[in-house]
């Protein structure tokens, strides 16, 4: 029974998603608001709602299920405390984003909703898998559907290229997961996630390194962050789901889940913590320099996921989880508001959006709440969850970097807020009002962004979350720290709001630190050069050998033909000529003259007699 619940949870979005994704319906791109498109939206909403209910049920009942999949690697699913929190978050955000998308996406809807549902199923499988086989399966589906979603508007050049960059970059990290699977098989013989920390010596190090690479790639941490910038060419609902609650969050989730493995190696946890903290700092600076709202949000996503990765490395699991959940709500909200403005105003450049938050409160208010939460202003969610993470950081340098990153997040959130709340420079034309299906998710998410901080406040929900996660002993942030960070956040945010127009925007930071160019120079170009060299080798050596073989055979055949013509044929002809000559010679004694015949007979007789005498 409980197994069926879990299988249903995964298959319920997967099957209709696959059908919808394959059903198409926009082959000529003109099926705008067609009946099939509306049906697809309704079906997707119903499925997502049912999935959310199932996720809640699963979170309460904690089912587990196992099915044969590969020899030695069963497809085992289970819901524990961490999974319960994550699947509820993901399915809730997914439902809200899909609701928003019914109003926002108006072409290619069956494909869009199909891919979104497939993606949701993959994420649910990722969050519940307890073996590496299931994790790899879900991870692959997640990567493939993320490509389809980022490249959703494939009729122009940009999105497919962006999807390819995102796909290839995350795939490069994914290789690590395969390494980890190989190490698990070699070192322990089982794919179960909870046995990874117990692997024999070197295999454990390899598994940890592989998991780290895969998770950092998916979570858009340094040095993989640039794919998130390119992924912003996808539709806004895609960004709202993939880059808040689901795809990047799965990187953080994997590290939180495998924290025992990281800490068992002795170095991986530190690497994760430092990578997370440095990403939070560097990408915070990148976000501060952006001129495009979605790019700013993307950089801030990488930065906030940096906090989660830091938490996973530092062992602040409860804080990391709370931050993951709260960030999912905040960032989904902010991406959706960006999408709403993109739809109504046709731009996402910050200067062009000046004052966008003012006229329409139904979008502006949720955006303000989300941006303030992102800034870490109390009493909103990310303030408390961030402090919870900081409480778990022991190393002073690490703490300083993380604190700097927190200050930067207040800075970029304040910048966005300041620009969007300024009065516009000139009166705007009348704009389409957001539809109810767009407003409702924004309101719900704004509520979540405001109150999810309770997950990190010990008295309200923090202790309960720790009990659910099974880590009751983790340190909670002290009141003093919380007051200091709150004051810092308020001060920096106020400053950024006031100075929003004059904040520095260095080209290097605006360009995402040149990470993509570096990746192209350091990885893509050498790989392509190597591929070119190998192709040339193939052309000049392998191919030439292949081409030379028939030439040699033809030459050999020529020799053989000549030998046949000159040797065998000549021999045969020579035998014939010799025989003819012998025949002619045999005719010569036949002169017809009797005397000569007699003479020949006598000679023959004499020779016979001589022979007889000699042989006797």
């Amino acid at each position: 029974m409980s197994g069926a619940l879990l299988w249903t949870l995964v298959l319920l979005p997967a099957v209709p998603g696959g059908v919808l994704a394959l059903a198409g319906g926009d082959r000529d791109g003109r099926d705008r608001d067609g009946r099939w498109g509306r049906t697809a939206g309704v079906v997707a909403l119903a499925v997502a709602a049912a999935t959310a209910v199932l996720a809640l049920l699963a979170a309460v009942h904690r089912p587990r299920a196992t099915a044969d999949f590969l020899p030695g690697g069963p497809l085992a699913l289970a819901v524990d405390g961490l999974s319960a929190v994550v699947i509820v978050t993901v399915s809730a955000v997914g439902l809200l984003v899909l609701l928003f998308a019914t109003a926002d996406i108006d072409a290619g809807r069956p494909r869009f909703f199909g891919l979104m549902l497939l993606f949701l199923a993959a994420v649910l499988l990722t969050a519940t898998a307890t073996t590496l086989t299931g994790l790899l399966l879900a991870w692959e589906v997640m990567g493939a559907t993320s490509y389809g979603l980022i490249a959703f508007h494939w009729r122009t050049d940009g999105p497919p290229a962006a999807g390819t960059v995102a796909f290839l970059t995350t795939r490069t990290g994914d290789v690590g997961l395969y390494l980890a699977a190989g190490a698990a098989l070699a070192g322990g013989g089982t794919f179960a996630l909870d046995t990874l920390p117990g692997l024999a010596g070197g295999w454990r190090q390899l598994a940890a390194a592989g998991v780290l690479a895969a998770a950092l790639g998916k979570a858009a941490q340094l040095p993989f962050s640039f794919w998130l910038s390119r992924a912003m060419l996808g539709p806004s609902p895609v960004s709202a789901l993939l880059h808040s609650a689901a795809m990047v969050a799965m990187g953080g989730y994997l590290l939180l889940r495998l924290h025992p493995l990281l800490s068992a190696t002795g170095w991986a946890a530190d690497v994760a913590a430092w990578t997370g903290a440095l990403t939070a700092l560097a990408l915070g600076a990148v976000a501060l320099a952006q001129r495009d709202l979605k790019q700013l949000l993307a950089a801030s996503t990488a930065a906030q996921l940096g906090f989660v990765v830091l938490a996973a490395g530092a062992g602040a699991l409860a804080g990391g989880t709370a931050h993951l959940v709260a960030h999912a709500a905040v960032k989904a909200l902010l991406f959706l508001t960006a999408g709403a403005w993109l739809t109504t105003r046709g731009t996402q450049r910050l200067r062009a959006l000046r004052g966008a938050a003012r006229p329409d409160r139904s979008v502006g208010l949720p955006f303000t709440v989300g941006a303030l939460a992102l800034a870490g202003v109390p009493p909103l969610s990310l303030w408390a969850t961030k402090d919870e993470i900081l409480a778990g950081v022991e190393h002073p340098a690490l703490y300083g970097v993380a604190l700097g990153a927190a200050v930067l997040s207040a800075g970029y959130a304040g910048k966005a807020l300041g620009l969007l709340l300024r009065p516009p420079e000139r009166a705007r034309r009348r704009l389409r009002a957001p539809r109810p299906a767009e407003r409702l998710p924004l309101a719900v998410l704004a509520l979540g962004a405001a109150v999810l901080g309770v997950l990190a406040l010990p008295a309200l929900g923090g202790d309960r979350l720790k009990a659910v996660l099974g880590v009751p002993g983790e340190p909670a942030a002290g009141a003093g720290t919380m007051v200091v960070t709150a004051a810092l956040a308020v001060a920096v945010t106020t400053g950024a709001v006031l100075l929003a127009d004059r904040l520095p925007e260095p080209a290097r930071a605006r360009n995402w630190l040149g990470l993509e160019a570096a990746a192209r120079a350091l990885v893509v170009r050498p790989v392509l050069a190597a591929a070119g060299a190998l192709a040339r080798f193939d052309d000049t050596v392998v191919d030439r050998a292949v081409a030379a073989a028939p030439r040699a055979v033809r030459r050999l055949a020529g020799w053989t033909a000549r030998a046949d013509r000159g040797g065998v044929d000549g021999l045969v002809r020579g035998v014939a000529t010799g025989t003819r000559r012998l025949g002619a010679a045999a005719l010569r004694p036949q002169t017809g003259q009797l005397h000569q015949y007699y003479a020949q007979a006598v000679a023959l007789l004499a020779a016979s007699v001589a022979l007889l005498l000699l042989l006797r």
Binding site: T591, G592, Q593, L594, H595, Y597, Y598, A599
Partner: protein, 101 residues
Amino acid sequence: MTPDLFLLLAAALFAVGLYGALSQQSVVMIMMGLELMINGVIVAAASFWYFVAPAQPDGQVLVLVVISAMTVEMAMGFAVVTLLFRAKDADTTDMAAELRR
């Protein structure tokens, strides 16, 4: 009486016959040479029989076979010569080369 004299006679007859067969132009003369050679053979065979195994009749039979073969040969030879002379007016071997090729 020794066989040597008879063998000598046979050899002389054979040699004279051979010389005649090789040296004469006329067909009739050549046939005379052949006769002499066969006579040499007959003398040799008869003397061998007489001196070596007079009790056996084999030698006599051999001599009789040779004589009959010689008779047939002469009859055939003169018939051929007569026909040749009638057809081509030829009486020397140089004029008749039908056996050529």
